[in-house]
Symmetry: C2
Subunit: 685 residues, 2 copies
């Protein structure tokens, strides 16, 4: 091995893997001003194949970073699912139509867009907001951890040796085939049918050929392993994927179909009477993805990887779809996979090294969940690491990553287990046919699965950052994330009956008080690392209610001043937003306490903090109070985490509870005179 | 003068001036595959100041090129206009609130965004779709025209000598001041208070200093002069601006205001009792544009250009706004202008050389019309020139540019004349105060002006491309644009009572038949140079109605095949779109005649031609038939121009009328066997 150079560097966060999960982590670091690096062994981003489904919740998240609109514009929108089953004579018929996204659960609907475009939007966003660039052609080589430094926030306990490859070595077969356009891309090399050691193969090739490899030693405070199903990081940490692999093999074709099947632009689940099942996913640019069952359990176990090819997969599709015809001239990509469901036993070590995405959960792709759950892993993790590094939260919040996300992964695996087995089974001929699958049951699971698959049903358990009445231990985690029993805060759910503590803040349209512009409330929840106190101020035309708001404003002012992002500035880690229910034109913004329209010497008043639940000129009436289930007269307070999940609900006099809640994990940072005043009040000096 | 090099070249279209009008022209050329060049004397696009208001119609147009979403996202949306007037005691009060955009007239609302961003979106779009790049630092020097070649479509009768300047020479004072950030940008150098010869000043500087100037001779088929109020092209053509200049001077400040005025984020018209008037235009990035009256008619005529500065303008604003305070730390740009309204006597010469934008109409900027009407000039012109160059239309359609756009310019000038005088007048103290302006009348003009200002009320007169019952001569043009009297086609307005022949096609939501996705119908009218026949197919569940559609499909097939974009391809200059009114789930796309789902060997069926007026899952019910005023049972045909203006309306059996209408100006291009069949049918061989 020819090591031409060694370098040493330090970084706050090292992210391994620049797929959707890694890019999401990097995006948080970019928006929170964290010194981070993200490396990937691949020489380019991917251009074809891989994941494509995007849940409504994922779109909400991408919108909080400002680029969901690009996805919305380029993607194919899926509106309806058609179920095709054999009729009593065994002939394929459309048996049902169900809406793809359940109406009303989100301002977005499920869409499909190639993973490579999503990655591009992340890359563009990183470039716009930071100096973080994906460093490609870099393999992690060794990982060491100094346990003695684990709990010291200023230490860099992680040491990773990286090896930089040249361009040729870093471009695996698949992307080369795509780039020169000569061959249809084959995704098998990343499939779970392939051996579990492709990474090492490429690297050992490099070593054997004694190519130029530059060694670099990086010391990091935090490490996030987003390096996929064959995760190098996971293996270094000695963490296992637990679960099972089946012998059900499915093929995937991305083609421009030439077909007389009537529903080729709908998402379809097709069960043939004897030839297996398939799923139709209409995509952007006239493409359609077909998931096609190519074996049944009857046929048996061992599949020769090399016997699978597009022709063979198409043959299966033609049998399943008969009497309809399907063929293609253009095939964009194809692969095959073996159905299995596995979850990692642990998601982190020492609350310093974390695993996310495919590195900790693998499952079948048909439900379109993979890319979403992976991005949402690091969406959950990123702001927490950033808050600790920025000194606004203490390390205790990091434990909630595993408690919150491992539960989601388990749920996903349970869903996929049930769904994929129902999908791969033969339809029952009649009620007596016990080996067959009931199409009624399939439809039921499909419909129920739709809520899960939207991503909006995620419900994080009680913890130091979720003030609800559950038993934190019931989340099945070994780690303790509960609040201190003696000072436990519990939110008052009855004050906002349609907002669930532990779930993401729903969205309704409200109008800006100062310019009457309608906004979906979620649009105001930018992902910038800030906590938000949403003041449902109620009917502030009522003088008593206005008095309550005035009383509250003092407490809020103190709170905002205690948790600054830096001790020299005025920028707070907490943003105050108001939604009131009085008629817009009867309220003047400047009559409200100044905490709701802070004054800056350069920019004048801030006009973007106060909103109203009122009729708009062009976009109807959002009915936000009704939607949120909040009393229009008396209002309430809602505390929203930087990732839009609700921590707590309380009354307008309960701001003291927020203060105590924050004391459980936040780190005070205030200007010196604020601190002096507080110390005096507490008789500390 | 040191001429280092001379070059010669040919181009189909030469565009002079890369402001919004020139960029719009270039964009059409890009989308229609025309060989065009666009030059500008400025060294960079502008960065501050200038125009900012965008009408809903302009947003519809930008959307047809695919980038209205970028404007919508970055711009400030204006929702409400507040009128502030002196009360009976002379104290300033909010007297009225009116919606800024009249609800329901468009799927967009009026927004405000700096002209430089709009230009950037055009530049990005040009780069994405063509090789056309703005060539900067280039002055036109001489213009010659060979009349003998005017009517030969293959000739290049225009000869322009261009002079290429170096970067330093091409950067005028304003953009330099902005780029280094040292000084607040001053727009006076482009103001109409400045002398009318700034262009020549820069150029003569270059000559005097004997700097490197490269001469280039360009021969062009068509020339479009979009070179602003001081248009060099207009002067070469000897065309005059006619109209009047007043002695009313207004100042403009783009500032981040520090103020206690309650409506600073609303568009406001403020009339003070004695200190003049102002207008508030809230903009993006916390900016507000203030239009401030700095003289009254009483003060008199001659204004020293150099006595106007931001301090003086702010002083006026403070007097007008009293008792409210206004000040700023950050001023982005400022200028002043003298109110006047002028229109060019002619908009074109020989139907070869055209003028557009400020080169043919100047007026006061307060109504936010300038950039819009300018872009719409070339939006009207561009597809016509492209069609002639592509050989799909004959030169007769070019005359309709002047007949259609000069009428709009005249309307604009009349509106602005009335509006600016009412704005600059002193409010009447009471009904006996005849010299004062009635605030009731002001409000009325303002409200009425809002429809005009939206841009959707433009109504083009009868001509060879607008088949309506008006008198073409009544458009006040010297040029003949009427259809042949003996073969005149008149559309049947009663078949679509809310679609007006001569006005732009309105928009309602419809669902794609094949995937149930809702689209605003206008979204389907991409600006690609194609004419569209919209088949309102009615209730196609009814067998007789379906028979009508089957009969129609034969005629449509013939029509589509007669007007191909190239004789070798199948791509037609006419697109067929259907909207039917039967329940979506009771219709199968492939049961319809193939003209509504053309088959391609590579791409299979086309799934984007058939839409349905039905309930959507997530975006309500568009009620398109009701909106368009079309009979839900029997339907109709609507012929839409490439710029979305309606040419003709007829019944489902009237496709022969479309054929005759097209024969008035279209050039047939068909595949050889189609032509053979036609010739045989006509007994020509």
């Amino acid at each position: 091995m020819d090591l031409t150079r060694e370098t040493f560097s330090k970084v706050d966060v090292l992210i391994i893997g620049a797929g959707p999960a890694g890019l999401m982590a990097a995006t948080w670091m970019a928006r929170c001003g964290i010194h981070a690096r993200i490396i990937d062994k691949r020489g380019t981003k991917i251009f074809t194949g891989q994941a494509d489904g995007l849940q409504c919740r994922t779109l909400e998240i991408l919108d909080s970073f400002g680029f969901a609109d690009r996805v919305w514009k380029e993607s194919n929108h899926m509106l309806e699912i058609c179920l095709w089953n054999p009729d009593s004579a065994g002939v394929l018929r459309r048996s049902d139509r169900i809406p793809d996204t359940i109406p009303g659960i989100s301002r977005f609907q499920q869409v499909v867009l190639h993973q490579g475009r999503i990655e591009q939007f992340f890359l563009d966003s990183l470039e716009e907001h930071s100096n973080i660039k994906v460093e490609r052609g870099i393999f992690p080589y060794t990982l060491a951890f100094d346990e003695t430094k684990a709990e010291d926030p200023n230490e860099y306990p992680i040491e990773v040796v990286l090896q930089h490859l040249t361009d040729d070595q870093a471009n695996p077969r698949q992307s080369q085939a795509t780039l020169d356009g000569a061959a249809t891309s084959d995704g098998l090399f990343r499939s779970n049918i392939a051996a579990d050691d492709d990474t090492d193969e490429v690297l050992s090739d490099a070593h054997e050929n004694e190519l130029t490899v530059i060694n670099e030693t990086v010391k990091a405070k935090y490490l996030i392993g987003c390096d996929g199903a064959h995760s190098w990081t996971r293996r270094q940490l000695g963490i296992q994927l637990e679960g099972e692999q089946t012998d059900l093999i499915w093929g995937v074709l991305d083609i421009i179909p030439i077909t007389n099947f009537p529903d080729i632009r709908m998402r379809c689940a097709i069960h043939s009477s004897k030839s297996g099942s398939m799923m139709v996913i209409p995509r952007e640019n006239k493409l359609v993805r077909l998931y096609i069952q190519i074996t049944t359990t009857a046929i048996g176990s061992e599949i020769d990887r090399w016997s699978i090819n597009p022709k063979m997969i198409l043959d299966s599709a033609q049998r399943i779809m008969a009497p309809y015809k399907i063929d293609y001239e253009h095939c964009d990509w194809w692969t095959a996979y073996q159905i299995g469901q596995r979850v990692a036993s642990k998601f982190s070590q020492y609350d310093r090294m974390f695993l996310a995405g495919d590195a900790v959960h693998t499952h079948s792709p048909k439900a379109g969940q993979g890319m979403n759950v992976s991005m949402q892993d690091t969406f959950n993790l990123g702001w927490k690491i950033a808050a600790v590094l920025n000194g606004t939260a203490n390390r205790s919040i990091l434990k909630t990553y595993e408690s919150e996300r491992r539960a989601v992964a388990q749920e996903l695996i349970t869903f996929d287990h049930k769904f994929s087995r129902l999908f791969s089974g033969r339809p029952a001929k009649d009620i007596m046919d016990e080996e067959g699958i009931s199409m009624e049951e399939f439809k039921e699971v499909f419909e129920k699965g739709n809520l899960f698959a939207s991503g909006v049903s995620v419900n994080y358990g009680a913890s130091i950052i979720v003030a609800k009445d559950d038993d934190a231990a019931a989340q099945g985690c070994e780690i303790g994330v509960a609040q201190n029993v003696n000072a436990r805060i519990i939110g008052k759910h009855h004050l906002a009956t349609n907002i669930r503590i532990g779930m993401r803040m729903p969205s309704f349209k409200v109008l800006n008080q100062s310019d009457a512009r309608p906004w979906h409330f979620q649009e105001l929840l930018k992902s910038d690392g800030r906590w938000r106190i949403v003041v449902f101020a109620g009917d502030i035309l009522n003088k008593i209610q206005m008095l309550r708001i005035q009383n509250l404003s003092g407490g809020l002012k103190t709170l905002v001043g205690k948790y600054l992002l830096g001790t020299d500035g005025t920028d707070s880690a907490i943003e105050i937003l108001m939604i009131h229910s009085a008629p817009r034109i009867q309220i003047e913004l400047l009559d409200l306490p100044e905490i709701f329209h802070p004054l800056s010497n350069r920019d004048g008043y801030d006009y973007d903090k106060v909103y109203v639940d009122d009729l708009s000129y062009h976009e109807g009436y959002g009915k936000a109070y009704e939607g949120y289930g909040v009393d229009k007269k008396r209002g309430c307070l809602v505390l929203v985490r930087p990732d839009h999940y609700v921590s707590w609900i309380g009354g307008l006099e309960d701001d003291g509870e927020i203060e105590r809640f924050f004391e459980g994990f936040m780190v005070k940072k205030m200007r010196w005179f604020t601190k002096l005043r507080e110390d005096l009040e507490r008789n500390l000096i």
